[in-house]
Structures are given as structure tokens and as C-alpha cells.
Symmetry: C2
Subunit: 338 residues, 2 copies
DNA sequence: CTGAAAGCGCTTACAG
DNA sequence: CTGAAAGCGCTTACAG
């Protein structure tokens, strides 16, 4: 692999000059620029980004630590983040925490070691040591989707979706369809989204004069297996819930698995709704009522905020909102008179 | 962010010594090692991987260029690749080509510029210039899932799934259920998997004495929209097919969208099968018959082969096989007597 | 067992 | 407009 000195030699100039033409420095004579460019092309030279980074103290790379790549919500988020970053000349390095705090810390560590210019995190837990260090030591950072609070974290912008309104709409929808015994498959209490969705659900129930009994709150971890397990517990109850709200799409998948394995039917035996909408929800049996986040906007806003920080501009938090997409999994939609 | 000289200073030793303890060099006295480690801990020092890479000519990072992150098959592949790489002390940088040759080339370019130790590629097209350069200039490379042929590419191992047997099983299954007019939504002819699946389908049809008429081959691009479009064409035919085989899961999604929008039913009006199995296929209406790849094994084998090349060992190609998972989307399974 | 020094491949003041 | 030189933060022969 040719280095800059090979180009310099072939073009008959110094490496400084080669560097200048590569970096579009204005003070280069046209003919020497042409000579250099010809040499670059001849050799198929590509600047070594590692060396450049060491010298300039910037990598033009952003780190993204997400909770679970296999969750379509995060895949879509990752994709929109990459698109937005690329548009602005940055590449992104993804770390998949798989909902495990230790893995999250591992990725934050390697990302920081590789000196990414900024870090986008959707924290799995209450805050792993390396992440706190990174934030405090001044690594530009932005939280997406989920966030954590703590000393030295006040400056970290949060780009997220507020799901409260949509959850309230969901409860109203369930109530209108006659459901009274409602249950929720919660995400980890260590995550903000985990807590928010339960809180919002509980408040909405209260608003409708309903109570959320302790055995109608199941503790999940945002992964399919936990959805299965919690649903099994619900269905074994003497008075099983009439409707189950899975607070993410993977737990909804687990819930469907469990319901189906018992030969029960949605919504006749149990209604089901999910947080996060995915294309397949249109084609499931029955189509699943879901709360949709503006995922693309979320990714773009997060990248914008992070790059603002990286480039020394102030960045503000952004809160978008989710919306209810009613389908048939909770019963016949209001509009349809039989 | 502290550098190695800060650690040296605090520990009262030279940077060489610090470097030695960091790299587990045996020739270091225990007490000086302890002093250094204490200084490292005090300062929260983390070695700069950029500097280390420049010096050692290795990044301990692998590049993975996949065709489409939003395709669950590739997401799962990426995940297994990352797991396998991490187990062996490598991290992986993913580039999403989004089935676009230009984007693929962009990612190969940045990855090579960042001097990843090896490249895993699932090529989108017939071979973009930068990828050919990389292979020829000796960047360790392995093709996963899809591959390309060309000058200088003979040395590149291919880790893939042979779907021919499973496609033949699918055709047998469709034939047994009485379907005769079979159609296929093909992937891009520039991809090996695109061609293989059509070839295998055609051969199997021949084996059963069936012909594949030209208007029963629809050209897709492995994305949902094309599945929709091709299915629309099929259904507009004077003699629409009795069964449609979508050669990936996203095109199957598009096909379902189109079928549903016309108020038609699967499998009564059209049978449907897909290449690549995903968890949601169990819950669609009806559950979808699919061809499942051993995705995890594929990722692991690919990483093993690539790291072998990176570390100077010989690496061989690996071919795994896919299997048919019959569900209800093609008609009642053989076993069930009404 | 430890240190001084060279060098990885760039960029960028500083001179001219 | 161009070049010589320093330096980014490491690692690793080479001496001792």
C-alpha cells in the first residue's frame, strides 16, 4: 500500500505538497496539483486515515452503542444514524450491547480507545463506569431513545420520543373496546423507556378509573423470551388480563408465541398491543396495534446534535412524539360497524 | 485524555516500560509493573488505539460490508459476525450498502482507509472497483453469503449457503400440494444468490415436468418494494401463478402487502414462500413457508476464515446448506389429513 | 530488567 | 507557492 512519500517521489515534490493538494489547500500551483493528482491516480494511493487521525486528533467517526441490533427499532435507528452521518462526512461504528451492561461497557471502551469523535448511546442500564468516564472526560456524547441521569451528565443532550401521549391513546382505545383488566410487559426499570411506558400506562389507567394490580405488571427485558415468560404468567392467573401491552416489539413477539402455543386467539381471548411499529405487524394474525416512533427523525436529530457538539456548537435535547396505530389485535376498530 | 508519557511520569519510569507492562511483556519487574498499573488506574489511562495501530500496522478491526441492514437476515449475520469477532479480540465495523453498488464502494473505501485488518463482504453487484483493488492489493478478504468472480479473486474464500437442495424441496412441496403454475420473484442477476435461487428453481421445475414461463419470472432487487411491484404484475396476468416464491424475506413482505391490498388470500388465492426464515413468519396470516439458512454458523465460519487469513493461516471456503420449513402459506401441510 | 531513540504516515506552522 | 522539520502517541529493536 503506497504511502504519501511514494506519491511525493513519483510527482517530484515534497510530502508537504502532496498533503496540501490532498487537503485542498489553496496555495498550490495548478500544474503541481495536476502532477500530484496524476501520481495519486497512478499509484492508486489512498491516504492512511489512521495516521491522519493521529495527527489531527479527529477520526471523522461517530460511535453508536445500541441496546440490541436484532430489535428492528434499533436497526432502523442505526440505519438512519448512518445515513445522516454519512451526509455530513462522518462514518459510524456500531456497538451492539445486546441489553447487557457489560457488553455496553466493552463497546464504549473500544470506541473511546479508537478515539471516535463523538458517542451516541442508548443506555442499557443505569450507567456503566466507562460511559460515565467518557462523558465526564469531555467526549462529545448524546443519548438517543433512552438516557440516564447522573453527575456530569447534565450536559449530555437527549434525543428521544415521548410515548406518554400515545400510551394514553392506547389505553383509551382498549377502554373503548371494553377491556378493563389490562396488563403490561415492562422493560427493565433501569431504562428510562422501561419506566416511562409503565408510568404512562399506570397514569392512563387511573384516568379511566382502572387499577394496575401488581400481578398485571410483568418484568421483561425487552427481549422475546421475557415476553413469552411474562405472558405465560399472565395467562396462568385466575383472572387473566383481557389485554396485554408489550412495551417493545420483541416482547410482543414472545407474547404471540406463548398465546399461540396455548391455542388461544388474539383478540378474542386476549388483546395485544406493542410499543414500536414494524412492517410485519400489518401481516400478523391479526394485525397488531402498535405505537409508532418517528425513528428516522430520531436518528437524524441525534446525529445533528452530536455533530454540533463535536464541532463545538451548542446542542439541545429533542423530544419527538409517538403515535398510536390501531389495528385489529385489540378488537374491532371503533370505525367499523359490524 | 492522558497519554503514555503521563503514566510514565507518574510511575517514575520510561514510556518504554509503560508500554511493556501494557503489552504483557514478560521482562518487567513485579514492583515496577505494580507502580505502572497503579499510575494507569489513577489516571484512568486508556491506550490510544489510533497511535498503536499506526505503529503496529494492525487495527484489530474487521470490516463487514453487508447488502442491507434492514434485512433481518443480514442483521442476524452482522450480529453473529460481531460475536465471533469479539470472542477473538477483534471488533467489527459495519458498512451498509443498501443494495447500492456506489454505497458499497464508499464503504469499502472508508474501511480500507481506516486500515481494517480484513474485510468481509457480501457483494451487492458484480464487483466494484475499490473492492477489486482491495482484494488485489492483498487486503485479507472473505465473501459471505454472496460472492463475485473475477481476476485476482480466486484466492478469496467464500462462506455461503447452498440453497439448491432446499429450493428443490420447496418445489416438491408445492407440486405435492397441487400447484403447477409457479412464479418466482428473483433477486438481482448481478448477485450469486440472485442467480442461484432462480437456477435452482428452474431446474427443480424441470425435474417435475414444469416450465418456468418468462412472465413468471419477475425481476426484484431484494427489497420490499420490488416484491410488491412484481407481485402486482403477476396478479395482473391472464393466468396468474398459483404460487409465488419470493427469493428473500423483504420481497415476501412486499408480496404480502400487494396480495392483501387486493383482498386476496394466501394460500387460497395464491401460495407464497420465501427464502430466509424470520421469527415473524410463524405469526403471519397464514404462517409463511420459508427456507432457513444457518445464519449464525455462516457468520462464525466467515469470521474464522477471515481471521485465519489475517493472521497468515490458509483459509478455505465453506458451504453450508439451507433447509425448508413448511408452514401453511402454500396450502395444508402433507401431514394434516382434513 | 530498563531506557533512549527511531519510526509508523500523516499535517502544519515556520521559513524562504 | 514549496520544502524541511517537528510532532501526534505509541512499540520495539538495540544497548546497557
Amino acid at each position: 500500500m503506497p504511502a504519501i512519500k511514494d506519491v511525493a517521489q513519483r510527482a517530484g515534490v515534497s510530502v508537504a505538497t502532496v498533503s496540501r493538494v490532498l487537503n485542498d489547500h489553496p496555495a498550490v500551483r495548478t500544474d503541481t496539483r495536476d502532477k500530484v493528482l496524476a501520481a495519486v491516480a497512478d499509484l492508486g494511493y489512498r491516504p492512511n486515515a489512521v495516521a491522519r487521525s493521529l495527527r489531527t486528533h479527529q477520526t471523522r467517526a461517530l460511535g453508536l452503542v445500541i441496546s440490541d441490533v436484532l430489535n428492528p427499532f434499533f436497526t432502523e435507528l442505526a440505519r438512519s444514524v448512518e445515513d445522516a452521518a454519512r451526509d455530513r462526512g462522518y462514518s459510524v461504528v456500531i456497538g451492539n450491547a445486546d441489553e447487557r451492561p457489560d457488553l455496553q461497557d466493552h463497546h464504549v471502551g473500544t470506541l473511546v480507545d479508537r478515539r471516535i469523535d463523538g458517542l451516541l448511546v442508548s443506555p442499557t442500564d443505569g450507567g456503566s463506569p466507562l460511559m460515565l468516564d467518557a462523558a465526564r472526560s469531555g467526549t462529545p456524547m448524546v443519548f438517543v431513545d433512552r438516557w440516564i441521569e447522573g453527575e456530569g451528565l447534565d450536559e449530555v443532550p437527549v434525543v428521544r420520543t415521548d410515548g406518554r401521549g400515545a400510551v394514553r391513546d392506547l389505553v383509551a382505545h382498549l377502554h373503548a373496546l371494553g377491556h378493563r383488566r389490562l396488563a403490561i410487559i415492562a422493560g427493565p426499570a433501569a431504562t428510562t423507556t422501561g419506566r416511562e411506558r409503565v408510568d404512562a400506562f399506570r397514569s392512563a389507567l387511573r384516568e379511566f378509573g382502572l387499577a394496575l394490580s401488581a400481578d398485571h405488571i410483568g418484568q421483561g427485558d425487552f427481549q422475546a423470551d421475557s415476553g413469552r415468560r411474562v405472558t405465560a404468567r399472565f395467562l396462568d392467573l385466575p383472572d387473566p388480563p383481557e389485554a396485554i401491552f408489550a412495551t417493545d416489539n420483541l416482547m410482543a413477539l414472545g407474547a404471540m408465541d406463548e398465546i399461540r402455543s396455548r391455542g388461544l386467539r388474539v383478540p378474542d381471548d386476549v388483546a395485544l398491543a406493542a410499543f414500536d411499529d414494524i412492517p410485519w405487524f400489518v401481516h400478523t394474525d391479526p394485525p397488531i396495534t402498535a405505537i409508532a416512533q418517528p425513528t428516522g427523525d430520531l436518528g437524524h436529530a441525534a446525529v445533528r446534535a452530536l455533530i454540533d457538539r463535536v464541532e463545538g456548537r451548542p446542542a439541545a435535547s429533542v423530544t419527538l412524539s409517538a403515535r398510536l396505530v390501531p389495528r385489529r389485535s385489540c378488537g374491532e376498530p371503533e370505525g367499523s360497524t359490524p
